[in-house]
Amino acid sequence: MVTRYKFSEKLFSLFNVVFLSFLALVCVYPLLYVVFASFSDPKLLMQHEGLLLSPRGFTLKGYALVLNNPNIRIGFLNTFFYVIAGTAISMILTCFGAYALSRKRVYFAKHILIFITITMFFSGGLIPFYLTVKGLGLNNTRWAIIIPSAISTWNMIVMRTSFMALPASLEESARIDGANDFTILFRIIIPLSKAIMAVMILFYSVGMWNSWFNASIFLNDRKAYPIQLILREILILNDKGDMLQVLHGVSAQSEDMYRQLVQYTTIVVATVPILFVYPFLQKYFVKGIIVGSLKG
Protein backbone atom coordinates (compact mmCIF):
# COMPACT_ATOMS: atom_id res chain seq x y z
CA MET A 1 0.00 0.00 0.00
CA VAL A 2 2.68 2.44 1.05
CA THR A 3 4.91 1.67 -1.92
CA ARG A 4 2.07 2.04 -4.42
CA TYR A 5 1.17 5.39 -2.99
CA LYS A 6 4.75 6.48 -3.32
CA PHE A 7 4.91 5.25 -6.89
CA SER A 8 1.90 7.30 -7.94
CA GLU A 9 3.37 10.31 -6.24
CA LYS A 10 6.62 9.88 -8.12
CA LEU A 11 4.74 9.54 -11.37
CA PHE A 12 2.90 12.75 -10.64
CA SER A 13 6.18 14.53 -9.82
CA LEU A 14 7.67 13.41 -13.08
CA PHE A 15 4.63 14.49 -15.05
CA ASN A 16 4.62 17.79 -13.20
CA VAL A 17 8.26 18.57 -13.97
CA VAL A 18 7.82 17.65 -17.63
CA PHE A 19 4.64 19.68 -17.94
CA LEU A 20 6.05 22.78 -16.27
CA SER A 21 9.22 22.60 -18.35
CA PHE A 22 7.07 22.40 -21.47
CA LEU A 23 5.04 25.40 -20.30
CA ALA A 24 8.20 27.44 -19.70
CA LEU A 25 9.46 26.45 -23.13
CA VAL A 26 6.21 27.54 -24.73
CA CYS A 27 6.49 30.90 -22.96
CA VAL A 28 10.03 31.52 -24.15
CA TYR A 29 10.19 29.78 -27.53
CA PRO A 30 8.38 32.48 -29.54
CA LEU A 31 11.04 34.94 -28.41
CA LEU A 32 13.84 32.50 -29.20
CA TYR A 33 12.36 31.93 -32.64
CA VAL A 34 12.38 35.66 -33.28
CA VAL A 35 16.01 35.92 -32.14
CA PHE A 36 17.06 32.99 -34.37
CA ALA A 37 15.15 34.40 -37.31
CA SER A 38 16.69 37.85 -36.85
CA PHE A 39 20.18 36.39 -37.38
CA SER A 40 19.12 34.09 -40.21
CA ASP A 41 19.92 34.60 -43.84
CA PRO A 42 16.51 35.65 -45.23
CA LYS A 43 16.84 33.38 -48.29
CA LEU A 44 17.51 30.29 -46.20
CA LEU A 45 14.78 31.30 -43.77
CA MET A 46 12.29 31.52 -46.65
CA GLN A 47 13.12 27.97 -47.68
CA HIS A 48 13.00 26.61 -44.16
CA GLU A 49 9.76 25.06 -42.92
CA GLY A 50 8.86 24.45 -39.32
CA LEU A 51 10.45 25.31 -35.99
CA LEU A 52 13.89 26.89 -35.77
CA LEU A 53 16.41 25.49 -33.32
CA SER A 54 19.24 27.78 -34.41
CA PRO A 55 19.73 30.57 -36.97
CA ARG A 56 19.73 29.47 -40.64
CA GLY A 57 22.98 30.85 -41.91
CA PHE A 58 24.14 34.05 -40.28
CA THR A 59 23.70 37.69 -41.10
CA LEU A 60 23.74 40.98 -39.27
CA LYS A 61 22.16 42.79 -42.18
CA GLY A 62 18.83 43.11 -40.39
CA TYR A 63 20.52 44.79 -37.45
CA ALA A 64 22.44 47.12 -39.73
CA LEU A 65 19.21 48.14 -41.46
CA VAL A 66 17.26 48.64 -38.24
CA LEU A 67 19.92 50.49 -36.29
CA ASN A 68 20.57 52.82 -39.22
CA ASN A 69 16.90 53.66 -39.61
CA PRO A 70 16.52 57.29 -38.51
CA ASN A 71 12.90 56.70 -37.43
CA ILE A 72 13.92 54.00 -35.00
CA ARG A 73 16.73 56.09 -33.63
CA ILE A 74 14.46 59.10 -33.10
CA GLY A 75 11.84 56.82 -31.59
CA PHE A 76 14.30 55.46 -29.08
CA LEU A 77 15.48 58.94 -28.13
CA ASN A 78 11.89 60.13 -27.69
CA THR A 79 11.03 57.10 -25.59
CA PHE A 80 14.05 57.69 -23.36
CA PHE A 81 12.86 61.24 -22.86
CA TYR A 82 9.29 60.13 -22.10
CA VAL A 83 10.44 57.43 -19.71
CA ILE A 84 12.78 59.71 -17.75
CA ALA A 85 10.60 62.83 -17.68
CA GLY A 86 7.37 60.87 -17.24
CA THR A 87 8.70 58.71 -14.44
CA ALA A 88 10.13 61.76 -12.67
CA ILE A 89 6.82 63.62 -12.76
CA SER A 90 4.87 60.49 -11.82
CA MET A 91 7.14 59.81 -8.87
CA ILE A 92 7.00 63.39 -7.59
CA LEU A 93 3.20 63.53 -7.72
CA THR A 94 2.80 60.03 -6.31
CA CYS A 95 5.17 60.77 -3.42
CA PHE A 96 3.38 64.06 -2.71
CA GLY A 97 0.02 62.34 -2.59
CA ALA A 98 1.22 59.32 -0.66
CA TYR A 99 3.05 61.45 1.90
CA ALA A 100 0.32 64.02 2.45
CA LEU A 101 -2.39 61.39 2.75
CA SER A 102 -0.36 59.31 5.17
CA ARG A 103 -0.13 62.22 7.70
CA LYS A 104 -2.95 62.48 10.18
CA ARG A 105 -2.47 66.20 10.69
CA VAL A 106 -3.71 67.01 7.18
CA TYR A 107 -7.28 68.26 7.18
CA PHE A 108 -9.67 66.42 4.87
CA ALA A 109 -7.08 63.64 4.27
CA LYS A 110 -9.88 61.06 4.56
CA HIS A 111 -12.13 62.91 2.15
CA ILE A 112 -9.33 63.30 -0.34
CA LEU A 113 -8.56 59.61 -0.09
CA ILE A 114 -12.17 58.79 -0.98
CA PHE A 115 -12.09 61.40 -3.75
CA ILE A 116 -9.06 59.60 -5.19
CA THR A 117 -10.30 56.05 -4.68
CA ILE A 118 -13.51 56.81 -6.59
CA THR A 119 -11.44 57.25 -9.73
CA MET A 120 -10.37 53.61 -9.54
CA PHE A 121 -13.97 52.56 -10.15
CA PHE A 122 -15.39 55.35 -12.28
CA SER A 123 -13.93 57.19 -15.19
CA GLY A 124 -15.18 59.43 -17.91
CA GLY A 125 -14.17 56.98 -20.60
CA LEU A 126 -12.02 57.35 -23.66
CA ILE A 127 -13.78 60.13 -25.53
CA PRO A 128 -14.29 62.63 -22.67
CA PHE A 129 -10.67 61.99 -21.63
CA TYR A 130 -9.51 62.71 -25.16
CA LEU A 131 -11.61 65.87 -25.35
CA THR A 132 -10.33 67.08 -21.97
CA VAL A 133 -6.69 66.68 -22.94
CA LYS A 134 -7.37 68.29 -26.28
CA GLY A 135 -9.29 71.11 -24.61
CA LEU A 136 -6.25 71.88 -22.48
CA GLY A 137 -4.26 72.35 -25.66
CA LEU A 138 -1.95 69.47 -24.82
CA ASN A 139 -2.48 67.52 -28.02
CA ASN A 140 0.49 67.42 -30.33
CA THR A 141 2.81 68.35 -27.46
CA ARG A 142 5.07 66.02 -25.52
CA TRP A 143 3.15 66.93 -22.36
CA ALA A 144 0.20 64.89 -23.64
CA ILE A 145 2.28 61.75 -23.19
CA ILE A 146 3.64 62.62 -19.76
CA ILE A 147 0.99 64.49 -17.75
CA PRO A 148 -2.44 62.89 -18.34
CA SER A 149 -1.24 59.46 -17.25
CA ALA A 150 1.11 60.71 -14.51
CA ILE A 151 -0.56 59.24 -11.43
CA SER A 152 -1.55 55.64 -10.95
CA THR A 153 -3.98 55.63 -8.03
CA TRP A 154 -3.10 52.06 -7.17
CA ASN A 155 0.61 52.93 -6.87
CA MET A 156 -0.17 55.93 -4.74
CA ILE A 157 -2.28 53.94 -2.31
CA VAL A 158 0.36 51.22 -2.02
CA MET A 159 3.02 53.86 -1.40
CA ARG A 160 0.84 55.59 1.21
CA THR A 161 0.43 52.29 3.04
CA SER A 162 4.17 51.81 3.14
CA PHE A 163 4.76 55.42 4.35
CA MET A 164 2.26 54.87 7.16
CA ALA A 165 4.32 51.95 8.42
CA LEU A 166 7.29 54.24 9.17
CA PRO A 167 7.61 55.32 12.82
CA ALA A 168 6.15 58.77 13.47
CA SER A 169 8.95 59.65 15.92
CA LEU A 170 11.40 60.22 13.06
CA GLU A 171 9.25 62.90 11.58
CA GLU A 172 8.47 64.51 14.93
CA SER A 173 12.09 65.05 15.87
CA ALA A 174 12.81 66.53 12.46
CA ARG A 175 9.87 68.90 12.86
CA ILE A 176 11.16 70.02 16.23
CA ASP A 177 14.44 70.83 14.48
CA GLY A 178 12.43 73.06 12.17
CA ALA A 179 12.36 70.88 9.06
CA ASN A 180 9.51 71.59 6.64
CA ASP A 181 7.48 68.93 4.85
CA PHE A 182 9.58 68.94 1.69
CA THR A 183 12.69 68.28 3.76
CA ILE A 184 10.97 65.53 5.72
CA LEU A 185 9.69 63.86 2.56
CA PHE A 186 12.92 64.03 0.55
CA ARG A 187 15.47 63.66 3.35
CA ILE A 188 13.77 61.22 5.69
CA ILE A 189 10.78 59.40 4.23
CA ILE A 190 12.08 58.63 0.72
CA PRO A 191 15.56 57.45 1.78
CA LEU A 192 13.88 55.09 4.24
CA SER A 193 11.60 53.67 1.54
CA LYS A 194 14.13 52.64 -1.08
CA ALA A 195 12.48 49.31 -1.88
CA ILE A 196 9.04 50.77 -2.54
CA MET A 197 10.65 53.60 -4.52
CA ALA A 198 12.42 51.06 -6.72
CA VAL A 199 9.16 49.18 -7.30
CA MET A 200 7.30 52.35 -8.24
CA ILE A 201 10.06 53.65 -10.52
CA LEU A 202 10.03 50.33 -12.33
CA PHE A 203 6.23 50.26 -12.57
CA TYR A 204 6.09 53.73 -14.05
CA SER A 205 9.06 53.42 -16.37
CA VAL A 206 8.01 50.06 -17.82
CA GLY A 207 4.48 51.41 -18.26
CA MET A 208 5.82 54.42 -20.10
CA TRP A 209 8.25 52.37 -22.20
CA ASN A 210 5.40 50.11 -23.35
CA SER A 211 2.73 52.75 -23.86
CA TRP A 212 1.68 53.74 -27.34
CA PHE A 213 -2.03 54.48 -27.37
CA ASN A 214 -2.00 58.01 -25.94
CA ALA A 215 0.82 58.88 -28.30
CA SER A 216 -1.19 57.54 -31.23
CA ILE A 217 -4.23 59.70 -30.45
CA PHE A 218 -2.48 62.86 -29.27
CA LEU A 219 0.61 63.18 -31.47
CA ASN A 220 0.59 64.15 -35.14
CA ASP A 221 4.20 65.16 -35.40
CA ARG A 222 6.31 62.14 -36.28
CA LYS A 223 9.36 63.74 -34.71
CA ALA A 224 7.81 63.22 -31.26
CA TYR A 225 6.74 59.59 -31.81
CA PRO A 226 7.85 57.12 -29.15
CA ILE A 227 9.48 53.89 -30.30
CA GLN A 228 6.29 51.87 -29.83
CA LEU A 229 4.49 53.88 -32.51
CA ILE A 230 7.36 53.31 -34.93
CA LEU A 231 7.20 49.61 -34.07
CA ARG A 232 3.49 49.59 -34.79
CA GLU A 233 4.16 50.99 -38.25
CA ILE A 234 6.84 48.42 -38.98
CA LEU A 235 5.28 45.36 -37.35
CA ILE A 236 1.53 45.78 -37.60
CA LEU A 237 0.72 48.31 -40.29
CA ASN A 238 3.53 46.91 -42.44
CA ASP A 239 4.11 50.47 -43.53
CA LYS A 240 5.93 50.80 -46.83
CA GLY A 241 7.30 54.27 -46.23
CA ASP A 242 9.18 53.13 -43.17
CA MET A 243 10.27 49.95 -44.85
CA LEU A 244 11.63 51.61 -47.94
CA GLN A 245 13.58 53.98 -45.77
CA VAL A 246 15.17 51.03 -44.07
CA LEU A 247 15.55 49.03 -47.23
CA HIS A 248 17.14 51.43 -49.68
CA GLY A 249 19.75 49.61 -51.71
CA VAL A 250 17.82 46.33 -51.72
CA SER A 251 16.29 45.07 -54.96
CA ALA A 252 12.53 45.08 -55.25
CA GLN A 253 12.00 41.33 -55.42
CA SER A 254 13.93 40.61 -52.25
CA GLU A 255 12.14 43.45 -50.48
CA ASP A 256 9.48 41.17 -49.07
CA MET A 257 12.15 38.82 -47.73
CA TYR A 258 14.01 41.65 -46.07
CA ARG A 259 10.85 43.10 -44.66
CA GLN A 260 10.41 39.93 -42.62
CA LEU A 261 14.01 40.09 -41.48
CA VAL A 262 13.61 43.71 -40.44
CA GLN A 263 10.50 42.81 -38.46
CA TYR A 264 12.30 40.10 -36.52
CA THR A 265 15.25 42.36 -35.86
CA THR A 266 13.02 45.22 -34.77
CA ILE A 267 11.31 42.98 -32.23
CA VAL A 268 14.67 41.98 -30.79
CA VAL A 269 15.98 45.54 -30.67
CA ALA A 270 12.80 46.75 -29.00
CA THR A 271 12.77 44.00 -26.40
CA VAL A 272 16.44 43.91 -25.40
CA PRO A 273 16.29 47.00 -23.17
CA ILE A 274 13.49 45.40 -21.14
CA LEU A 275 15.52 42.20 -20.80
CA PHE A 276 18.40 44.21 -19.33
CA VAL A 277 16.27 45.42 -16.45
CA TYR A 278 14.35 42.14 -16.25
CA PRO A 279 16.23 40.73 -13.24
CA PHE A 280 15.34 43.87 -11.25
CA LEU A 281 11.85 43.89 -12.67
CA GLN A 282 11.21 40.38 -11.59
CA LYS A 283 12.50 40.82 -8.07
CA TYR A 284 10.79 44.12 -7.31
CA PHE A 285 7.62 43.59 -9.31
CA VAL A 286 6.88 40.39 -7.47
CA LYS A 287 7.44 42.20 -4.18
CA GLY A 288 5.23 45.05 -5.33
CA ILE A 289 2.37 42.85 -6.44
CA ILE A 290 2.45 40.90 -3.19
CA VAL A 291 2.54 44.04 -1.04
CA GLY A 292 -0.31 45.44 -3.12
CA SER A 293 -2.42 42.31 -2.81
CA LEU A 294 -1.96 42.08 0.94
CA LYS A 295 -2.78 45.70 1.58
CA GLY A 296 -5.49 45.96 -1.06
Binding site: L20, M46, G97, Y99, V106, T119, G125, L131, L185, L235
Partner: protein
Protein backbone atom coordinates in the same frame (compact mmCIF):
# COMPACT_ATOMS: atom_id res chain seq x y z
CA UNK B 1 -22.63 81.22 19.92
CA UNK B 2 -22.62 78.88 16.94
CA UNK B 3 -21.11 81.54 14.70
CA UNK B 4 -18.33 82.13 17.16
CA UNK B 5 -17.29 78.47 17.24
CA UNK B 6 -17.50 78.31 13.48
CA UNK B 7 -15.21 81.32 13.13
CA UNK B 8 -12.88 79.82 15.74
CA UNK B 9 -12.81 76.56 13.83
CA UNK B 10 -12.08 78.35 10.60
CA UNK B 11 -9.24 80.22 12.25
CA UNK B 12 -7.79 76.99 13.57
CA UNK B 13 -7.90 75.46 10.08
CA UNK B 14 -6.37 78.56 8.50
CA UNK B 15 -3.52 78.74 10.98
CA UNK B 16 -2.94 75.03 10.57
CA UNK B 17 -2.78 75.41 6.80
CA UNK B 18 -0.36 78.31 7.21
CA UNK B 19 1.87 76.34 9.55
CA UNK B 20 1.88 73.27 7.29
CA UNK B 21 1.76 75.14 4.02
CA UNK B 22 4.15 72.85 2.18
CA UNK B 23 2.13 69.73 2.79
CA UNK B 24 -0.97 71.53 1.52
CA UNK B 25 0.92 72.53 -1.61
CA UNK B 26 1.56 68.82 -2.19
CA UNK B 27 -2.10 68.01 -1.59
CA UNK B 28 -3.15 70.78 -3.92
CA UNK B 29 -0.93 69.54 -6.76
CA UNK B 30 -2.34 66.03 -6.50
CA UNK B 31 -5.97 67.10 -6.11
CA UNK B 32 -5.60 69.46 -9.06
CA UNK B 33 -4.29 66.61 -11.21
CA UNK B 34 -7.26 64.44 -10.24
CA UNK B 35 -9.73 67.22 -10.93
CA UNK B 36 -8.31 67.89 -14.37
CA UNK B 37 -7.60 64.38 -15.65
CA UNK B 38 -10.21 62.28 -13.82
CA UNK B 39 -13.11 64.48 -12.75
CA UNK B 40 -13.22 66.80 -15.75
CA UNK B 41 -13.67 63.78 -18.07
CA UNK B 42 -16.40 62.47 -15.72
CA UNK B 43 -18.17 65.80 -16.06
CA UNK B 44 -17.56 65.53 -19.80
CA UNK B 45 -19.72 62.40 -19.86
CA UNK B 46 -22.79 64.68 -20.01
CA UNK B 47 -22.08 65.13 -23.73
CA UNK B 48 -23.68 61.71 -24.07
CA UNK B 49 -26.98 63.55 -23.50
CA UNK B 50 -26.09 66.51 -25.69
CA UNK B 51 -25.49 67.26 -29.33
CA UNK B 52 -21.88 68.16 -28.71
CA UNK B 53 -19.68 70.04 -31.09
CA UNK B 54 -16.21 71.31 -30.37
CA UNK B 55 -17.14 74.81 -31.54
CA UNK B 56 -19.98 75.19 -29.02
CA UNK B 57 -18.25 73.39 -26.17
CA UNK B 58 -19.84 71.17 -23.53
CA UNK B 59 -21.86 73.85 -21.79
CA UNK B 60 -23.67 75.44 -24.72
CA UNK B 61 -24.28 72.33 -26.78
CA UNK B 62 -28.04 71.62 -26.79
CA UNK B 63 -29.54 68.80 -24.71
CA UNK B 64 -30.95 65.91 -26.69
CA UNK B 65 -31.95 63.58 -23.85
CA UNK B 66 -31.57 59.89 -24.56
CA UNK B 67 -31.44 60.17 -28.35
CA UNK B 68 -27.89 58.80 -28.57
CA UNK B 69 -28.86 55.75 -26.52
CA UNK B 70 -31.91 55.07 -28.69
CA UNK B 71 -29.68 55.42 -31.75
CA UNK B 72 -27.22 52.97 -30.26
CA UNK B 73 -29.88 50.33 -29.48
CA UNK B 74 -30.96 50.57 -33.11
CA UNK B 75 -27.40 50.59 -34.44
CA UNK B 76 -26.85 47.73 -36.89
CA UNK B 77 -23.63 46.95 -35.01
CA UNK B 78 -25.27 46.92 -31.57
CA UNK B 79 -25.94 43.20 -31.40
CA UNK B 80 -22.56 42.27 -32.87
CA UNK B 81 -20.36 44.36 -30.58
CA UNK B 82 -22.26 43.46 -27.41
CA UNK B 83 -22.11 39.77 -28.33
CA UNK B 84 -18.40 39.92 -29.19
CA UNK B 85 -17.56 41.78 -26.00
CA UNK B 86 -19.39 39.24 -23.86
CA UNK B 87 -18.08 36.20 -25.73
CA UNK B 88 -14.43 37.27 -25.57
CA UNK B 89 -14.80 37.80 -21.85
CA UNK B 90 -16.71 34.59 -21.20
CA UNK B 91 -14.15 32.53 -23.10
CA UNK B 92 -11.39 34.35 -21.31
CA UNK B 93 -12.97 33.56 -17.94
CA UNK B 94 -13.35 29.91 -18.92
CA UNK B 95 -9.80 29.48 -20.30
CA UNK B 96 -7.73 32.41 -19.13
CA UNK B 97 -8.89 32.67 -15.53
CA UNK B 98 -8.10 29.12 -14.33
CA UNK B 99 -4.77 28.88 -16.20
CA UNK B 100 -2.63 30.74 -13.65
CA UNK B 101 -4.38 28.95 -10.77
CA UNK B 102 -3.51 25.56 -12.26
CA UNK B 103 0.04 26.70 -12.89
CA UNK B 104 0.42 27.92 -9.29
CA UNK B 105 -0.95 24.63 -7.94
CA UNK B 106 1.47 22.60 -10.07
CA UNK B 107 4.38 24.87 -9.23
CA UNK B 108 3.53 24.53 -5.56
CA UNK B 109 4.14 20.79 -5.78
CA UNK B 110 7.69 21.28 -7.04
CA UNK B 111 10.22 20.54 -4.30
CA UNK B 112 13.42 21.66 -6.04
CA UNK B 113 13.83 25.35 -5.38
CA UNK B 114 16.06 26.12 -8.37
CA UNK B 115 13.74 24.44 -10.82
CA UNK B 116 10.80 26.37 -9.41
CA UNK B 117 12.69 29.65 -9.68
CA UNK B 118 13.76 28.93 -13.26
CA UNK B 119 10.20 28.14 -14.34
CA UNK B 120 8.96 31.33 -12.73
CA UNK B 121 11.63 33.48 -14.38
CA UNK B 122 10.85 32.06 -17.81
CA UNK B 123 7.07 32.27 -17.55
CA UNK B 124 7.01 35.85 -16.23
CA UNK B 125 9.00 37.07 -19.20
CA UNK B 126 6.21 37.57 -21.79
CA UNK B 127 4.34 39.84 -19.36
CA UNK B 128 6.95 42.57 -19.77
CA UNK B 129 6.92 42.65 -23.54
CA UNK B 130 4.99 45.60 -24.88
CA UNK B 131 1.57 45.11 -26.41
CA UNK B 132 2.79 46.40 -29.77
CA UNK B 133 5.62 43.87 -29.88
CA UNK B 134 3.37 41.02 -28.72
CA UNK B 135 0.90 41.87 -31.45
CA UNK B 136 3.78 42.19 -33.91
CA UNK B 137 4.86 38.65 -33.02
CA UNK B 138 1.26 37.44 -33.39
CA UNK B 139 0.91 39.08 -36.80
CA UNK B 140 4.17 37.54 -37.94
CA UNK B 141 3.49 34.05 -36.59
CA UNK B 142 -0.05 33.84 -37.94
CA UNK B 143 0.76 35.17 -41.42
CA UNK B 144 0.38 32.82 -44.36
CA UNK B 145 4.02 31.87 -44.31
CA UNK B 146 4.40 32.25 -40.57
CA UNK B 147 5.61 29.61 -38.18
CA UNK B 148 2.15 28.53 -37.03
CA UNK B 149 1.04 27.88 -40.60
CA UNK B 150 4.25 25.99 -41.34
CA UNK B 151 3.63 23.71 -38.38
CA UNK B 152 -0.06 23.29 -39.23
CA UNK B 153 0.84 22.56 -42.85
CA UNK B 154 2.95 19.62 -41.76
CA UNK B 155 -0.25 18.15 -40.27
CA UNK B 156 -1.99 18.62 -43.60
CA UNK B 157 -3.80 21.92 -42.99
CA UNK B 158 -4.01 24.53 -45.67
CA UNK B 159 -1.91 27.67 -45.21
CA UNK B 160 -3.89 30.85 -44.73
CA UNK B 161 -3.54 34.19 -43.03
CA UNK B 162 -5.12 33.32 -39.70
CA UNK B 163 -5.75 36.94 -38.69
CA UNK B 164 -7.96 37.47 -41.72
CA UNK B 165 -10.30 34.64 -40.68
CA UNK B 166 -12.93 35.75 -38.23
CA UNK B 167 -13.41 32.23 -36.84
CA UNK B 168 -9.86 32.21 -35.43
CA UNK B 169 -9.80 35.66 -33.89
CA UNK B 170 -11.05 34.78 -30.41
CA UNK B 171 -8.71 31.78 -30.18
CA UNK B 172 -5.73 33.91 -31.15
CA UNK B 173 -6.75 36.70 -28.81
CA UNK B 174 -7.33 34.49 -25.78
CA UNK B 175 -4.47 32.08 -26.48
CA UNK B 176 -1.94 34.88 -26.76
CA UNK B 177 -3.39 36.44 -23.62
CA UNK B 178 -2.80 33.23 -21.69
CA UNK B 179 0.71 33.03 -23.11
CA UNK B 180 1.46 36.55 -21.94
CA UNK B 181 -0.17 36.42 -18.51
CA UNK B 182 -0.08 32.88 -17.14
CA UNK B 183 3.19 33.25 -15.25
CA UNK B 184 2.52 36.70 -13.97
CA UNK B 185 -1.03 35.86 -12.93
CA UNK B 186 0.21 32.91 -10.89
CA UNK B 187 2.23 35.15 -8.52
CA UNK B 188 -0.75 36.20 -6.48
CA UNK B 189 -1.87 32.59 -6.05
CA UNK B 190 1.66 31.51 -5.14
CA UNK B 191 1.60 34.17 -2.42
CA UNK B 192 -1.73 32.85 -1.16
CA UNK B 193 -0.41 29.27 -1.19
CA UNK B 194 2.57 30.16 0.99
CA UNK B 195 0.15 31.51 3.60
CA UNK B 196 -1.43 28.11 4.15
CA UNK B 197 -0.37 26.63 7.47
CA UNK B 198 2.05 23.73 6.79
CA UNK B 199 0.82 21.91 9.91
CA UNK B 200 -2.44 21.23 8.10
CA UNK B 201 -0.56 19.17 5.52
CA UNK B 202 1.45 17.36 8.18
CA UNK B 203 -1.64 16.25 10.05
CA UNK B 204 -3.34 15.32 6.79
CA UNK B 205 -0.42 13.06 5.88
CA UNK B 206 -0.64 11.41 9.31
CA UNK B 207 -4.34 10.82 8.67
CA UNK B 208 -3.36 9.11 5.42
CA UNK B 209 -4.67 11.73 3.01
CA UNK B 210 -3.09 11.51 -0.44
CA UNK B 211 -2.14 14.40 -2.70
CA UNK B 212 -5.62 14.65 -4.20
CA UNK B 213 -7.35 14.83 -0.82
CA UNK B 214 -4.83 17.43 0.36
CA UNK B 215 -5.59 19.49 -2.74
CA UNK B 216 -9.35 19.32 -2.28
CA UNK B 217 -9.51 19.72 1.49
CA UNK B 218 -6.55 22.00 2.30
CA UNK B 219 -5.03 23.73 -0.71
CA UNK B 220 -8.16 24.83 -2.56
CA UNK B 221 -10.02 26.05 0.56
CA UNK B 222 -6.81 27.87 1.51
CA UNK B 223 -6.74 29.96 -1.64
CA UNK B 224 -10.51 30.07 -2.22
CA UNK B 225 -10.92 33.62 -0.93
CA UNK B 226 -8.17 34.90 -3.26
CA UNK B 227 -9.78 33.10 -6.19
CA UNK B 228 -13.21 34.47 -5.37
CA UNK B 229 -12.06 38.07 -4.97
CA UNK B 230 -10.21 37.93 -8.28
CA UNK B 231 -13.18 36.26 -9.94
CA UNK B 232 -15.53 38.99 -8.71
CA UNK B 233 -13.15 41.60 -10.09
CA UNK B 234 -12.93 39.70 -13.35
CA UNK B 235 -16.70 39.40 -13.68
CA UNK B 236 -16.94 43.07 -12.77
CA UNK B 237 -15.14 43.85 -15.99
CA UNK B 238 -17.09 41.45 -18.17
CA UNK B 239 -18.08 44.27 -20.49
CA UNK B 240 -14.51 45.54 -20.79
CA UNK B 241 -12.15 44.34 -23.42
CA UNK B 242 -8.87 46.18 -23.61
CA UNK B 243 -9.15 47.91 -26.97
CA UNK B 244 -5.39 48.27 -27.39
CA UNK B 245 -4.86 44.67 -28.37
CA UNK B 246 -8.08 44.53 -30.39
CA UNK B 247 -7.29 47.55 -32.53
CA UNK B 248 -3.77 46.28 -33.12
CA UNK B 249 -5.01 42.88 -34.30
CA UNK B 250 -8.38 43.32 -35.96
CA UNK B 251 -9.23 44.38 -39.48
CA UNK B 252 -12.49 44.76 -41.41
CA UNK B 253 -12.33 41.07 -42.39
CA UNK B 254 -12.58 39.99 -38.75
CA UNK B 255 -14.99 42.63 -37.40
CA UNK B 256 -17.60 39.87 -37.31
CA UNK B 257 -15.97 38.37 -34.20
CA UNK B 258 -13.33 40.95 -33.25
CA UNK B 259 -15.17 44.26 -33.08
CA UNK B 260 -16.08 44.94 -29.44
CA UNK B 261 -17.73 47.88 -27.68
CA UNK B 262 -14.47 49.61 -26.81
CA UNK B 263 -13.02 49.29 -30.29
CA UNK B 264 -16.29 50.58 -31.75
CA UNK B 265 -16.16 53.56 -29.38
CA UNK B 266 -12.60 54.18 -30.56
CA UNK B 267 -13.58 53.99 -34.22
CA UNK B 268 -16.73 56.10 -33.99
CA UNK B 269 -15.31 58.56 -31.49
CA UNK B 270 -11.75 59.13 -32.53
CA UNK B 271 -11.68 58.15 -36.17
CA UNK B 272 -15.16 59.46 -37.14
CA UNK B 273 -15.35 62.20 -34.46
CA UNK B 274 -18.90 61.19 -33.36
CA UNK B 275 -18.09 62.44 -29.87
CA UNK B 276 -21.53 62.45 -28.26
CA UNK B 277 -22.60 59.15 -29.74
CA UNK B 278 -19.44 57.27 -28.74
CA UNK B 279 -19.51 58.78 -25.25
CA UNK B 280 -23.06 57.45 -24.88
CA UNK B 281 -21.88 53.97 -25.91
CA UNK B 282 -19.03 54.17 -23.41
CA UNK B 283 -21.42 55.24 -20.65
CA UNK B 284 -23.81 52.40 -21.45
CA UNK B 285 -20.87 50.03 -21.24
CA UNK B 286 -19.70 51.33 -17.85
CA UNK B 287 -23.18 51.19 -16.35
CA UNK B 288 -23.74 47.56 -17.41
CA UNK B 289 -20.26 46.69 -16.19
CA UNK B 290 -20.92 48.24 -12.81
CA UNK B 291 -24.16 46.28 -12.48
CA UNK B 292 -22.23 43.07 -13.15
CA UNK B 293 -19.70 43.98 -10.47
CA UNK B 294 -22.43 44.67 -7.91
CA UNK B 295 -24.23 41.44 -8.83
CA UNK B 296 -21.08 39.31 -8.63
CA UNK B 297 -20.22 40.80 -5.28
CA UNK B 298 -23.76 40.21 -3.98
CA UNK B 299 -23.71 36.59 -5.11
CA UNK B 300 -20.34 36.01 -3.54
CA UNK B 301 -21.46 37.56 -0.26
CA UNK B 302 -24.52 35.37 -0.26
CA UNK B 303 -22.84 32.05 -0.99
CA UNK B 304 -19.32 32.50 0.38
CA UNK B 305 -17.66 34.63 3.01
CA UNK B 306 -15.60 36.64 0.54
CA UNK B 307 -16.67 39.92 -0.98
CA UNK B 308 -15.14 43.20 -2.06
CA UNK B 309 -17.27 45.33 0.25
Amino acid sequence: MKDVTRIQKRNIILSDIKRNKYIYIMVLAVVAWYCVFCYAPMYGVIIAFKDYSIGRGIWSSPWIGLRNFVLFFNDINFYRIVKNTLLINIYDIIWGFPAPIIMALLLNEVRKKHFKKAIQTLTYLPYFISMVVVCGIIVNFTSTNGIINQVLASFGFEKTNLLSKSEFFRTIYIGSGIWQNIGWGSIIYMAALTNINPELYESAVIDGAGKWKQLVHITLPGIASTIIVLLILRIGSIMNVGFEKIILLYNPLTYETADVISSYVYRRGLLNADYSYSTAIGLFNSVINFLFLVAANWLSKKFTESSLW
